[in-house]
């Protein structure tokens, strides 16, 4: 019951933050140029343009404009995306699955590798393995992601020829129209229809971009996991487990790991925002047809409607994930006091 109250309270606290974010984005849409520009194209006549002004209330005072704009946001009218050639919300719906698939796979890679490296270096504290991991994770957070993408392409596509350089699946599947359209997540869809050749092909295509995107997160997860593991290993219950004569293996991987995971959960949630930012760069290099590449193209075409729509979406996702992480934290760690 306490948890429910906490969630409700946190949801209420979201409102001022979301209003603030919407104010920032709204200010950005009105600060330069004519806000109508995003709705108008070359083929329109003057009377059509007047209709646009009328329809979106661009000739009224700013505060009424804000109310109308906010109303538009809530009713899913986010303006016109020149880059996509359709409404911004349609563009988001179209590109979202690709980005979701990419970020989910990256998070998955980051969790597996980061947690393993974190535990392994905590156990081998101040030994060579620990130092090497520390340096590698430092490089991980200092690497420009667009550069890493290009270098990985150079090595694994150009030099070794192990992985493809772009796209979500081989052209054959697009030409024969054999990609099922159920959830838009190719990995999931191919399993659902039982097409394992396609599954393998998609996995092969997603590998390089996902590794690129996960690199920074691996570094962060490793660091946090190492520190919280060290903390947990010095606690009394671990000593008790040792005194009981449990094997070191089960102490580390069962007893200590579970509690050390709690702070790591938070970090994984928070890194989601960074991943969405990194997706802009990664997707453009690997020609990944997702939100990131769409917004990067929009930037090149000076299509601020699309860019701001993307930013608004990321803000909403980010805020909701933060909330989910806090709730999860409270659920996982009974010591956390819910205020």
């Amino acid at each position: 019951m306490r948890l429910t109250n906490y969630i409700i309270k946190r949801l209420l606290l979201l409102i001022p933050v979301l209003i603030g974010v919407s104010l920032i984005i709204f200010t950005l849409t009105r600060i330069t140029g004519d806000p109508a520009a995003g709705y108008i194209n070359e083929k329109m006549t003057q009377s059509q343009i007047d209709q646009i002004y009328e329809k979106y209330h661009f000739n009224e005072p700013v505060y009424t404009q804000y109310v109308y704009w906010l109303n538009g946001i809530i009713t899913l009218d986010w303006g016109w995306s020149k880059t996509y050639g359709g409404p911004v919300t349609d563009a988001i719906a179209y590109y979202f699955p690709a980005t979701l698939e990419l970020t989910l796979v990256s998070i998955f890679i980051a969790i597996i590798i980061g947690i393993y490296l974190g535990i392994a270096s905590a156990v081998r504290r101040n030994r060579p393995f620990d130092h090497v991991t520390r340096v590698v994770s430092l490089i991980g957070v200092s690497l420009p992601i667009f550069w890493l993408a290009l270098i990985l392409q150079y090595l694994f596509y150009f030099h070794f020829g192990w992985f493809p350089s772009s796209g979500r699946a081989s052209n054959v599947y697009y030409l024969t129209k054999s990609i099922p359209d159920i959830t838009g997540l190719y990995l999931l869809d191919s399993v659902l229809v039982g097409n394992f050749a396609l599954f393998k092909d998609v996995l092969w295509h997603i590998f390089l971009p996902a590794v690129t995107l996960s690199f920074g997160t691996i570094a962060v997860v490793t660091r946090i996991m190492r520190n919280s593991m060290l903390e947990v290993l010095s606690l009394d219950y671990v000593k008790t487990a040792r005194a009981k004569g449990l094997s070191e293996r089960s102490i580390i991987w069962k007893h200590a790991r579970k509690n050390a995971m709690i702070p790591t959960t938070t970090v994984i949630g928070l890194s989601f925002g960074g991943l969405l930012g990194g997706a802009v760069l990664t997707e453009s290099i690997f020609s990944w047809p997702g939100l990131g590449r769409w917004s990067a193209t929009s930037i090149k075409l000076f299509d601020s409607n699309s860019v701001l729509g993307f930013c608004l979406l990321v803000a909403i996702i980010y805020v909701l994930i933060n909330l989910a992480v806090d709730v999860l934290y409270a659920y996982l760690d009974p010591r956390v006091h819910l205020e």
């Binding site: 420009p144 925002g273 960074g274 930013c311 803000a315 980010y318």
Partner: protein, 340 residues
Amino acid sequence: MTDVQEPDTTSTINDISNTPSTTPRVPPKSGFNIDSNVLMKELEPRVRELRNSLGLLRENITALVGLGFVIFIIIIALLAPVICPPTSADPMYIPRDFKQPKPPGADGHILGTGNWGTDMLYGIVWGARTSIIISLFVVITGVLIGLVVGSIAGYYGGRIDNLMMRITDVFLSLPALILAMAIASILERSLENMMLALIIVWWPSYARLIRAQVLSIKESTYVEAARAIGAKTDRILFKHIVPNAISPLIVAATMDIGAVVLVAAGLSYIGFGVSTGSAEWGRMVSDGQSWFLSTVYWEGKAYTASWVVIFPGLAILIFTMGFSLLGDGLRDILDPRLRR
């Protein structure tokens, strides 16, 4: 021992609680007037602190390696006109011969040439200047705004605090690169506007940091003492609280210098900031990308143009790593809880 030291008026208390000073006391010379004597006495604990910190720095390998990188980059940036004298009025414009990229070593180009035959070495060397200017300007401005907002919010509390923290909440609810993108997307594309976008992104985290520090320090006994002897608010805030709140800010700012360059490079890579062909590392990567992995010929031999991307990227990596290492080491050095 207290958590936070007051380096200012309570130097005698520190003398008792700490190990005996290794610095000899300055003997009151007869020629000195009172003021400079007071000054020396005020400076003494600070000098001792500095000496302690330098001693710790010498033992901290991480910080030393980072410092080495940082000094190396600063020297290159300072010597840029000597290493690569500019050929046009705008030093940001990389000299070029409008030919295909040449491999490193060809025709006197140590690191080869890039898109339109721009000299890579020139770009890297002057790019160090660009990166230092961007990062220092963004971080220093961000810290100053954060310092003012954070200390006022933390000290006065109440409604001001609430309002200011809600504002920072909003800014922090967006990932750095995305918010910078949103702001930069409506501005004209220039280096100045990119820095403006980065400042808007960066100040809230400093404000939060300083506020948290001020909140804990304002409850300490020496602040109470200062209040008891009737010190004015601004004196308490800026002479007693802020100097003690500043250490974590220095650490965060040092690490952020690298982070700012990373985000700035990402922004110029996708097309914000400086114009194409300028000495900026992120821009050089995106300029070189059109040649990356294509085959170029030089004196009858074929080369895969990889240097056009590899060198500027390495420069970003070294810069960011240097400041992260230094910041990481400074954290150990400046945190009074971790030493003595």
